[in-house]
C-alpha cells in the first residue's frame, strides 16, 4: 500500500454534547503521496475538527489514522503534535506577533546551522515573492502576505503533510482566485501531500485533486470536482454543490417516466432507480436551454446579469421553479414568457 495518509472509521467527540452527538463519526478518507485533498462542507460540519485530529490536537475516540502505513492516532495512543511531521496553516495565520517574518519562518527549523537556516528562509521567501519583507513584523503585512508567510512557515521544516484550515477565508475576493492557483502550483511543485479545509466550493474545485463533502460530522461523498458536480450521490451534495432545482418524476400509464417538462429516456436511468415509486430529478441551470422556438414556455420571475450570460429564475406551469443560463443578448423582461427545452447529459435522480 503506498497511500500517504489513511483515515479509517474515525470518530471524535468533545465529551458531553447536548444531544450526545459525535463531532465526527465514521470518517474514511485517504490520500496518495503528493495529492491535494480538500474537505468541503458548511460551517459547523466538523471539518476543522477533522483537520485538528489529523494534526494531533484532538484525541480521537475510535478509528485509526495511518501515515505511511504507521499508526499515528487511534483510541489508545496519539503521537504528539510535535512528532507527526505535519505542517499546519491556521485560519487566522497565528503568526507570532513578537517575531519578524524571518524569525517566524525559522521558528520550526531544528538541527541546522545558522547559515543553513538563513538559506532555507531566503529560499522560501523567494518562492512566494516576499524576500523584501523579511525584516518586517506580521502586523506590517497585508492579509495576503501574512497568509503566504503562514504557508511557508508551515512548509519550512519540510513536513510530510501540510494541513490548511480555511487558508483563503480572510483574503479579498479579487486576489483570491490568483492566490488559490498560486498555492496549488506551489504545493504541486514541492509535491507535498496536502489537506485543505474550506466552505467555498470554487476554492475546493480549483485547488484539490480530490474533494470530500462533509455534513454533520460525516463524509457524504468523495470524488473529483466533476463527479461531485455532475454525479452527486445524495440530495445534500446535490443541493450544496452548485445551483439547481428538483422536479418530480412520475411514471405514466405506459410505464414511461416523465417530468412536468417532458418525457425521459429510460436508457439514461440506472436500473435500481426505476424500482422506486416517488422520484425526483436534479436540474442544473445548464440542463435547461433557452430556445425562443420552443413550445414549452416559462415565466421569468428573477434574473441576474452575469456578463456573458443571464441566470434566469423561471416559473413553469405556475408551480415549478427552474434555473436557466442564457447568453446575455437574450435579454428578457421579468414577467415575460420564454421558450425552454430540456437537454440533460446525465440524469441525477433521487428517491423523494
Amino acid at each position: 500500500m503506498n497511500k500517504k495518509l489513511i483515515i479509517s472509521d474515525l470518530s471524535l467527540d468533545f465529551g458531553k454534547d447536548k444531544n450526545n452527538r459525535k463531532i465526527l463519526s465514521n470518517i474514511n478518507f485517504d490520500l496518495e503521496e503528493s495529492e491535494i485533498g480538500c474537505i468541503l462542507g458548511p460551517s459547523g460540519c466538523g471539518k476543522t475538527s477533522l483537520l485538528r485530529a489529523i494534526a494531533g490536537f484532538e484525541n480521537i475516540i475510535s478509528g485509526t489514522i495511518l501515515k505511511d502505513g504507521v499508526c499515528i492516532s487511534n483510541s489508545l495512543e496519539n503521537i504528539s503534535v510535535q512528532n507527526r511531521k505535519m505542517g499546519m496553516v491556521f485560519q487566522d495565520y497565528a503568526l507570532f506577533p513578537n517575531m519578524d517574518i524571518k524569525s517566524n519562518i525559522a521558528f520550526g527549523l531544528k538541527g541546522m546551522t545558522k547559515a543553513d537556516k538563513e538559506a532555507r528562509v531566503n529560499y522560501l521567501l523567494k518562492l512566494v515573492n516576499l524576500d523584501k519583507h523579511k525584516d518586517k513584523y506580521p502586523h506590517e503585512l497585508s492579509g495576503g502576505e501574512q497568509q503566504r508567510v503562514a504557508l511557508i512557515r508551515a512548509l519550512a521544516p519540510s513536513p510530510e503533510i501540510i494541513l490548511l484550515d480555511e487558508p483563503f477565508s480572510n483574503i479579498d475576493a479579487d486576489i483570491k482566485e490568483d492566490l488559490v492557483t498560486d498555492v496549488r502550483v506551489l504545493l504541486k511543485e514541492l509535491s507535498i501531500t496536502s489537506i485543505i479545509v474550506t466552505h467555498d466550493q470554487y476554492e475546493a474545485f480549483n485547488i484539490a485533486d480530490k474533494v470530500a463533502i462533509m455534513n454533520n460530522g460525516k463524509i457524504e461523498q468523495i470524488g473529483n470536482a466533476y463527479d461531485i458536480y455532475h454525479k452527486p450521490v445524495n440530495k445534500f451534495v446535490a443541493d450544496f454543490i452548485g445551483l439547481g432545482v428538483f422536479v418530480p418524476i412520475v411514471k405514466n400509464e405506459n410505464g414511461i417516466f416523465e417530468t412536468p417538462l417532458g418525457l425521459l429516456d429510460k436508457n439514461k436511468f440506472h436500473k435500481d432507480e426505476m424500482k422506486y415509486k416517488n422520484l425526483e430529478m436534479l436540474l442544473r441551470p445548464d440542463d435547461i436551454i433557452h430556445n425562443d422556438e420552443s413550445s414549452t414556455k416559462a415565466i421569468v420571475i428573477e434574473k441576474q446579469f452575469r456578463g456573458a450570460e443571464f441566470l434566469y429564475k423561471l416559473l413553469y406551469n405556475d408551480k415549478y421553479p427552474l434555473l436557466c443560463y442564457a447568453p446575455s443578448h437574450h435579454d428578457h423582461r421579468i414577467g415575460e414568457s420564454i421558450g425552454i427545452e430540456l437537454e440533460i447529459e446525465h440524469y441525477v435522480i433521487f428517491e423523494k
Binding site: 490536537f57 505542517g87 531544528k110
Partner: protein, 508 residues
C-alpha cells in the same frame, strides 16, 4: 481563603455588650455613611468621568491631547493625601467651607477616583463605530442626543464597571474618612478593635461590611462580562471624528481642566509649597531610611505577587475547568475587601497559629520563638497578596489572553515543546504585562495605608503611614515631603496606563 472562614465564623460567636452598644448607637451611622459615601462617589465619578470622556473623544479643542492625558493625573493622588491637603488649605483661609464631613469626603474621593470612569468610558466611546454616529446624525440627532441616547447606553457596561470600581474603593477607604472624621464601617472596625480592644465585635462588623461589599462585587463582575460581550462586536471603523466649534472651544477646555486642577494641580502645588517653605521635617537620613524601607517592602511584595499571579494565570489557561481555578477566582476577589477587614482576617488566624506553635515549643523544648507570622513582614506581604493579587493577575491574564490559543497550536505544529513556547513566545509577549503588574502593585503598596499601619512590624514605617501620622497630629505641612514622594511614585503607573491606551490606539 482561610482568613475569611475565620471572619465568617465570627458570626457564631455570641454578640457581646459592645456589639449591642454599637448596634444601638453607631451602626446605623456607619451603615448610612458608608453607603452614602459609596453612592455619592459613584454618582460624582459618573458625572465627571463620562462628561470629560465624551468631550475629549468627540470634540476638538486646544491642548486636547495633553488635557486628555492630564485627566488621568489625579489617579496618582491617594484620597487621604488630597484630603489632608485641602484641609490644610481650608484651615489657612477663612472663607472656604469646611470639608470635614461626609460631603467633603465624597468630593475628595471623587476628585481622585473619577479617572476610573473616565478611562473606561473613553475607551468605550472610542470603540464605538463611526458609522453609528454618522447614522445618528443623518437621522437628525444632535450631538447631545447622540451622547445621551447612543453613546452612553452603548458604553453602559464600561461606565457601570468604572462607577462600581470607584464606589467599592470608596467603601474600602480608610484614610480619608478617618482624617475627615466621618464615622464609617472601616473606621468603626478600626476603633472597635484598637480603641475598645474588642476583636470579636470588630470581626463581626468586618463580616457585615464584607457582605455589603460582595453586592458591589456582584454588580462589578456582571458588568465586566457585558463589557466583554460588547467588545466582541467588531466595528468597521473606529470613532475618530472630531467636532470643532470655535464658539465652545474655550468653554470645553475649561470644563476638562477643572477636575485636573482640583484633583491634581492645586493640591500638588500646595504640597510643594509646604515642603519648601513651611515643613519642619527635613530631608534627612531618618526620612531616607523610611523611603528605603518603603521601596524595599514594595519591591518584595510586588515581585512575590507578580509571580503568584503568573502561576494563577497559567493554571487558568491550561486547565480552565480545574478546581484550583475556581478556588483562584475566589482568592482574587481581594481587591474589593477593605484594608482593615483584610488586616483582621489575617491577623486572627496567624496570631492563633503563633500562640499555638509557641505553646508547643514551650511545653516540649522549653523555648519560645516569639512571633513568627504576626508582626513580621510575612503577614504584611500575605495581606498585600490578598489585597492586590486581583489587580496583578488581571493585568497578566489580559496579556496572556491576547496570545491566541492558535499561536500555541502553531508553535506545537512547528515542533516546539511547551518549554520552548513559554520561553520563545509567551515570555517576550508577556514582558510588558509582567512589568505593568509589578509597577502597579509596587505603587499600590507604597500608597497603602490601613493594612500597613495595622500589620507592620514594630519600628517599621512607610511613607504613607508617616504622612498620615504627621497629618493626624495636626502637622499637615510636615507630611508634605512623604506625600510628594508618594504622588511622584504614583505618576509612574499613570504614564504606563496612558502609554498602554495610546499603544493600543496606534495598532488600530
Amino acid at each position: 481563603m482561610v482568613p475569611f472562614i475565620f471572619l465568617a465564623s465570627s458570626i457564631f460567636i455570641p454578640f457581646n455588650d459592645n456589639w449591642h452598644h454599637i448596634v444601638e448607637n453607631v451602626l446605623l451611622d456607619y451603615f448610612v455613611n458608608s453607603l452614602s459615601l459609596a453612592i455619592g462617589v459613584g454618582f460624582c465619578t459618573f458625572i465627571i468621568g463620562t462628561t470629560t470622556a465624551w468631550l475629549t473623544s468627540v470634540y476638538d479643542f486646544p491642548f486636547r491631547k495633553i488635557i486628555s492625558w492630564l485627566l488621568l493625573m489625579p489617579l496618582a493622588m491617594p484620597a487621604y493625601i488630597i484630603a489632608i491637603t485641602y484641609v490644610g488649605i481650608i484651615d489657612s483661609t477663612s472663607f472656604l467651607p469646611d470639608i470635614r464631613n461626609l460631603f467633603g469626603a465624597i468630593i475628595m474621593i471623587s476628585l481622585v477616583l473619577y479617572p476610573y470612569v473616565y478611562i473606561l468610558a473613553r475607551g468605550a466611546f472610542l470603540e464605538q463605530s463611526k458609522e453609528l454616529h454618522e447614522n445618528s446624525q443623518i437621522l437628525g440627532a444632535s450631538q447631545f442626543q447622540i451622547f445621551l441616547k447612543v453613546s452612553i447606553p452603548m458604553a453602559r457596561p464600561a461606565i457601570i464597571l468604572g462607577v462600581t470600581l470607584a464606589a467599592m474603593e470608596a467603601l474600602a477607604d480608610f484614610g480619608t474618612v478617618e482624617f475627615l472624621g466621618v464615622p464609617t464601617f472601616t473606621t468603626g472596625i478600626f476603633r472597635t478593635w484598637f480603641g475598645m480592644n474588642d476583636t470579636v465585635t470588630a470581626t463581626q462588623m468586618a463580616t457585615l461590611l464584607l457582605s455589603i461589599v460582595f453586592i458591589f462585587v456582584f454588580i462589578e463582575q456582571q458588568s465586566r462580562k457585558k463589557v466583554r460581550y460588547s467588545e466582541n462586536i467588531k466595528t468597521q471603523s473606529k470613532l475618530n471624528y472630531r467636532i470643532t466649534s470655535k464658539k465652545n472651544n474655550f468653554f470645553i477646555a475649561v470644563i476638562c481642566i477643572f477636575p485636573i486642577a482640583f484633583g491634581f494641580i492645586i493640591p500638588f502645588l500646595q504640597l510643594i509649597y509646604w515642603s519648601i517653605f513651611i515643613s519642619n521635617e527635613s530631608w534627612d537620613s531618618d526620612f531616607f531610611s523610611i523611603v528605603n524601607d518603603t521601596l524595599l517592602l514594595a519591591f518584595l511584595a510586588s515581585i512575590i505577587i507578580t509571580i503568584i499571579s503568573l502561576l494563577i494565570t497559567y493554571i487558568k489557561r491550561f486547565s480552565p475547568k480545574s478546581i484550583t481555578n475556581k478556588f483562584m477566582q475566589i482568592i482574587t476577589l481581594g481587591y474589593a475587601i477593605p484594608g482593615p477587614v483584610v488586616a483582621i482576617a489575617v491577623l486572627i488566624p496567624f496570631a492563633a497559629l503563633d500562640n499555638y506553635i509557641n505553646q508547643i515549643l514551650v511545653v516540649k523544648f522549653n523555648f519560645s520563638l516569639g512571633l513568627i507570622f504576626s508582626g513580621t513582614f510575612f503577614i504584611l506581604i500575605f495581606a498585600y497578596c490578598i489585597r492586590f493579587l486581583t489587580v496583578s493577575s488581571r493585568t497578566i491574564s489580559s496579556g496572556l489572553e491576547s496570545i491566541s490559543l492558535a499561536t500555541d497550536d502553531a508553535a506545537k505544529s512547528l515542533g516546539a515543546s511547551t518549554k520552548n513556547i513559554l520561553i520563545k513566545i509567551h515570555f517576550p509577549m508577556l514582558k510588558t504585562s509582567l512589568l505593568t503588574s509589578f509597577l502597579i502593585v509596587f505603587i499600590d503598596v507604597m500608597k497603602e495605608l490601613p493594612l500597613t499601619s495595622i500589620l507592620r512590624p514594630f519600628n517599621f514605617n512607610t511613607l504613607s503611614v508617616k504622612a498620615f501620622e504627621l497629618a493626624s497630629d495636626e502637622k499637615i505641612a510636615d507630611a508634605s515631603n512623604a506625600a510628594i514622594m508618594i504622588v511622584l511614585a504614583g505618576i509612574i503607573p499613570v504614564i504606563l496606563i496612558t502609554k498602554n491606551i495610546l499603544g493600543k490606539r496606534n495598532k488600530v
